[in-house]
Structures are given as structure tokens and as C-alpha cells.
């Protein structure tokens, strides 16, 4: 498609930041680059969810494309889902939950992504409006479309008109517990590999060119949901205070990954430890 034609088709679509998916280029990997446990977050913001019937054995990893490749314009990283044994108890999915369902009030949205598999397969792309937690929120609203994935890199698009929020009830825990879930269910129960990158969700019915972001901006977007202190700069002592920039979505779950520390205060903007050893590393998790 020519640029002029694409621009003409865009019509009144606003310019500026378009992609509502975070880390669609699979470049931010605070938790690491290879994962085997099921139902865990992998590359930033991407969860490997279990299917309705169980949890097939799988490894997810960050991979790189060959320099100079032309299949994916300006692509470098991708996420590989490798189902390592035939599953008898259900399938799994790649999930990203986009905070605040009120951003999606009856909008037409388009999801696009590049993908390939080691043999042809079907994925079920689901758009799930979740109205949060607390009280009696409205039930989820789900739209689904099946997509046939081939063995070579190709761009796939799915366009849906989401449900209106009129008459819906949000949970009492606040809009930051509500979300639109993009759920790509991988249907084969055999062993397979599925590769994906340049995932983009945008308002409108046209899949525009993938919006590239600098690593620093993408990392900052990710750190609202997960932060990992890789190398402690603190000395031994008590009452070590750590500020989050940006503030986290909610007060985070804190895990000491190395060293020793005891959490004694925990907020969306900061945490405080006592009995902190100098080599302590930690993670703060505020994912949806």
C-alpha cells in the first residue's frame, strides 16, 4: 500500500502515540530471556497463560532475527513459544492486559502482529473487557476470531468493535484493576513452536505500520507494572528507601532476589526496607 493511500484511509485517526500494547517489539526483558514455568510473566508485560484445561509444558524465550532480514520491517527481537511436549490437558495462551477498560468504550480496534509457526496452526485471538475487582463488577465481555498462522513470517490483523460501556459496572477497587485483555490462544495440543513480534493494538479499522519506540520509553512503560533492581547501590543498614519512577499501578508485591532485606513499607510511589544488606536485589510486581 502506498503511503498516500494509507494516509487517506486513516481519515480522522489521531496522529501521535498509536500502539496500546506495551513491549510489542519484545525488546524489554527485565525478568530474563527464557522461561519454563507455566502461568508466569515472561518478557515484560507478556504472560504465558494456562488454557482452560491445564498447563502444557513449554519454554518461552526472547530470540533475535538475522540482521538484514526483510520479513519484518526494522525488526530485531521476537518471542518464541516452544511447546515441548504433547499436551493432553489443554492449551495455553499469550496474554497482555491493558490497564483501564474505560479506554475502550465501543471502539473499533485493530490488532496486528507478525507471526510464524513450525507448522501451520490456528490461534484464537480474544479481546476481553474485564471490569475490575471489588463489589459486583459486570461480567467479562469476550470477542474471538480465529487466525490461521503459516510457516513463514507474515503480518496478521484482526479488527473488532468492542462493546459499549453503557450500563456496565466497574469494580469498587478502581479503574486500575479493570483492563482489556489481548489473549492469543495457541490451539495445538502437539509439540510446536510459535514466534511473534511487532504486536500492535490501535483504535480504528486500519493496521498501520508498527510504531517503534526507543528502549528507554518502552522500559519506562513496563516499569509501571514490574521493576527489578539489578544491582544494588545501597550500603548495609536500615530503612533503605526506594522511589519508583513512574509510580506503579498498585502497591507492588516485593520479592528479594539476592541478598537479604525486610520490607516494612510499601506504596505505589516507594518502598522501604530495613535490615538491608549491601548486595540485595529485588523485584516489585504490580502486574494485572
Amino acid at each position: 500500500m502506498s503511503n498516500a493511500r494509507e494516509i487517506a484511509q486513516l481519515g480522522s485517526v489521531p496522529s501521535g502515540r498509536r500502539n496500546l500494547i506495551i513491549n510489542g517489539a519484545m525488546q524489554v526483558a527485565q525478568r530474563g530471556t527464557s522461561f519454563t514455568a507455566d502461568n508466569v510473566y515472561t518478557l515484560d508485560r507478556w504472560k504465558s497463560g494456562d488454557g482452560s484445561g491445564g498447563s502444557p509444558a513449554r519454554t518461552l524465550s526472547q530470540e533475535v532475527l538475522s540482521l538484514g532480514q526483510t520479513d519484518i520491517p526494522n525488526g530485531y527481537y521476537y518471542l518464541r513459544h516452544n511447546q515441548t511436549s504433547a499436551s493432553t490437558n489443554g492449551n495455553s495462551s499469550l496474554v497482555q492486559n491493558i490497564e483501564n477498560v474505560t479506554q475502550f468504550d465501543g471502539n473499533t480496534v485493530t490488532l496486528s502482529f507478525y507471526a510464524k509457526a513450525n507448522s501451520a496452526m490456528t490461534v484464537n485471538v480474544r479481546f476481553i473487557q474485564d471490569f475490575g475487582t471489588g463489589g459486583t463488577p459486570s461480567s467479562d465481555v469476550t470477542l474471538t476470531e480465529s487466525v490461521s498462522i503459516g510457516t513463514g513470517w507474515a503480518k496478521y490483523t484482526v479488527t473488532k468493535t468492542l462493546g459499549s460501556l453503557s450500563g456496565k459496572t466497574l469494580g469498587t477497587d478502581g479503574i486500575h484493576t479493570s483492563f482489556l485483555s489481548i489473549n492469543i490462544e495457541l490451539t495445538p495440543t502437539t509439540t510446536f513452536t510459535f514466534d511473534i513480534t511487532h504486536v500492535q493494538l490501535e483504535v480504528g479499522s486500519v493496521a498501520t505500520e508498527f510504531e517503534h519506540r526507543f528502549y528507554g520509553e518502552e522500559l519506562a512503560l513496563c516499569q509501571r507494572y514490574y521493576f527489578e533492581l539489578k544491582s544494588s547501590q545501597y550500603s548495609y543498614g536500615e530503612n533503605k528507601h526506594f522511589n519508583f519512577h513512574p509510580e506503579m499501578r498498585t502497591a507492588p508485591t516485593v520479592t528479594v532476589l539476592a541478598g537479604s532485606a525486610t520490607l516494612n513499607r510499601n506504596r505505589v510511589q516507594f518502598i522501604t526496607f530495613n535490615s538491608y544488606t549491601g548486595d540485595t536485589r529485588f523485584s516489585a510486581d504490580a502486574e494485572l
Binding site: N39, G174, A251, P252, T253, V254, T255, N264
Partner: protein, 59 residues
């Protein structure tokens, strides 16, 4: 299922008034705030209500 496998849970209370729940998942200790918007806290409460998890009192 998307259930989180929580091996144990225990309240931790500090003199500053803050209270957390320490949980064990995959042999790792996580400190969870009592915030319903936190996904681990929400899962803890779901399992408590389902009768599959008991939170031990603070020492």
C-alpha cells in the same frame, strides 16, 4: 487454570502499622501488600474464600 500455586501464607505486622502477607510460590518468598488491586493479594483472598488457603497469624 490460571491459579497461582501458593505453598503457604503468613501475616507480617510491623511497628509502623504496615501489615503484609508473606507467601511462598515456587520456593520463593513474596511480600504482598493488603491491597485488593494487587493481583497476588486478590488471588490470596480468592483462595482463602474457596477454603484452599489459610493465612497464618503474625508472630
Amino acid at each position: 487454570m490460571n491459579e497461582i500455586n501458593i505453598a503457604s501464607a503468613k501475616y507480617i505486622a510491623y511497628e509502623n502499622g504496615d501489615t503484609f502477607i508473606n507467601i511462598i510460590i515456587n520456593d520463593q518468598e513474596l511480600t504482598v501488600p493488603l491491597d485488593p488491586a494487587n493481583r497476588h493479594y486478590a488471588e490470596i483472598m480468592r483462595q482463602v474464600e474457596a477454603g484452599t488457603l489459610v493465612i497464618a497469624d503474625a508472630e
